[in-house]
Point group: C2
Chain length 333, copies 2
């Protein structure tokens, strides 16, 4: 890497249908100079998330990403030089540094992270993915021992942790994932009680068989038909933790919502609750303590999917949207 060149990946146009490599372009900029209050960081690991694709649709909990700008994305970076108090060269930070080698970022938009080995854990189990799973399951879904928990995108970064935490809490856990290999992995390696392959069709029937006592907590990463099937199988007073809607991100979002809303919501007294992990950051220390103890005792397995090279970031996201990854996908810059 040449320290005078800043490789950058631009979003050249917003996709109207499926995301493809043609929507990105590698470019070279200069290494920026940090202003007062800013630090210059060098990207180490860039996080890939289905939400990256959702940002292209418009403003969500953040501003939309725009065409002909550096593609937005969170990651772990190292401070190169600092014009801000509290951050020094060599510090490890988390923040939205975008898909590029270097970025000058206001220090207030960065979170200082502890040094740890492997550093990748800062993006997986101890990062947004782990905390999303923790808060979305325990604070929103509120599973009780013996209840049935279903999670979709179960082999993904968040889902694979959700299911394992639900097992730690004594629940009957069913994962929904695409393909036999992923499903086998969930039951044989991660301890899920059952897995349903949505690519098999007949998801409703398979789910009903896998959750014979009905669903008490559904952790929804996907929306669409799978949400519809789960609503129909929810028990009275069940909770649906709405984390994401991956089925709607890559392409044209569906013009309709799931059947059963609001009819079954009323009859079964369900709670559907959306959440964003950032809302729970004041309880982060307790979450990290729990996650660390579960990892240390071997109750929680950390699965990462690290791809090498900034230039491979577009394909890494395209592949993630197609369901290639197991666990947390990231790019090592």
């Amino acid at each position: 890497m040449n320290a005078t060149v800043n490789r950058q990946i631009l979003l050249v146009e917003k996709p109207t249908g499926k995301l493809g490599p043609e929507h990105f372009k590698m470019s070279e900029g200069t290494v920026p100079e940090p202003k007062d209050g800013e630090v210059l960081v060098r990207a180490r690991y860039i996080s890939l998330d289905a939400a990256n694709r959702a940002w292209m649709h418009g403003a969500t909990y953040r501003a939309a990403v725009e065409a002909n700008t550096v593609m937005a994305g969170g990651g772990i970076a190292e401070v190169v030089s600092s014009k801000a108090p509290g951050l020094s060269p060599g510090d490890i930070v988390f923040g939205d540094t975008g898909w590029q080698d270097y970025a000058a970022v206001p220090a207030k938009h960065l979170t200082k992270m502890p040094r740890m080995e492997p550093m990748t854990h800062l993006l997986s189990i101890y990062g947004i993915a782990g905390l999303t799973a923790y808060f979305g399951l325990l604070h929103v879904g509120k599973p009780k021992e013996g209840e049935t928990v279903v999670v979709s995108a179960a082999a993904g970064s968040v889902g694979s942790i959700v299911g394992q935490i639900a097992k730690i809490k004594g629940c009957h856990v069913v994962g929904i994932a695409g393909g036999k290999d992923k499903c086998n992995w969930l039951t044989s390696e991660l301890g899920f009680d059952a897995a349903v392959d949505y690519k098999d069709g007949a998801t409703y029937k398979a789910l009903r068989a896998a959750a014979p006592k009905g669903i008490d907590v559904y952790f929804d990463n996907v929306g669409g038909d799978i949400l519809e099937a789960c609503i129909a199988l929810m028990n009275n007073r069940g909770r649906i933790s709405c984390c994401g809607a991956i089925s709607q991100y890559d392409g044209v979002p569906s013009a309709t919502g799931p059947r059963g809303v609001p009819g079954l919501i009323v009859v079964k007294r369900l709670i559907m609750q959306g959440f964003i992990v950032m809302d729970y950051m004041n309880e982060r220390d307790q979450a990290l303590k729990d996650l660390q103890s579960w990892v240390a005792s071997g109750k929680l397995k950390v699965q990462e999917d690290v791809i090498n090279g900034l230039e491979n970031t577009p394909q890494a996201l395209i592949g993630l949207l197609a369901g290639e990854n197991r666990g947390k996908r990231m790019v090592k810059v």
Copy 2:
């Protein structure tokens, strides 16, 4: 009324489309003899509710009503004779006595009511309608002073009370109702801040104008397109109290749900929660105390729509589903 004849209205077939008079038949049975544990009651007022129609679709929070049986329905009745401890001739009770003059009912399925004038208040403000409005708004929707509350079917038995309680709690209140007359009534008589006529079309635009700061609490009686419009206008951390889905009851229920589920639920961190008033009965005394004090002080107006004659019950329900009524509709037997 001849005390040896029991007039009964049967549901002769379950409607597949709109409910009509052809789905009912007046019949004459005998006055039943109560068994041990039962009481014989004479119906005084039969409650008409949109939910009556929903029961014809299948099991909900109660068993489905079946063809060629007496149509189910709650109401206020007077005990004629009793084979159960705790209930005596002359007592006033609430229960599902069906659309008929007389019924023998297990005492455990009846609730003894106080004598009051007018007795009709036991079905409106101090009955299921008033309690549904109270708990659904205050315990599920949880409005705070200064927030914007929107309620659909706002001129109906529940909606007209929801809006008035929200005003008592210091909220900006918008009602959605069908027709100019109802809308005028909501603002001029019941003190709503604004009303939106959904028959005018352009509900989304009219709502946006009536709720310029967005919606914090939406009390949903209707589902469908109006729910979809409200979801799009909800503020972050808004609450949707799911009480009913009237738009889906009379005819073929829609094969899809509202757009924005779950996408906007996630992004806006919304809570959608279904409820059934029966779940809150242990807090009924406090609710009745509040409702009584608001009625006594003139802050809460009670609107009733009483139709005479058991034989008119089918048409009373058909008309209610078409939006004829203002406030609580019931039939005086």
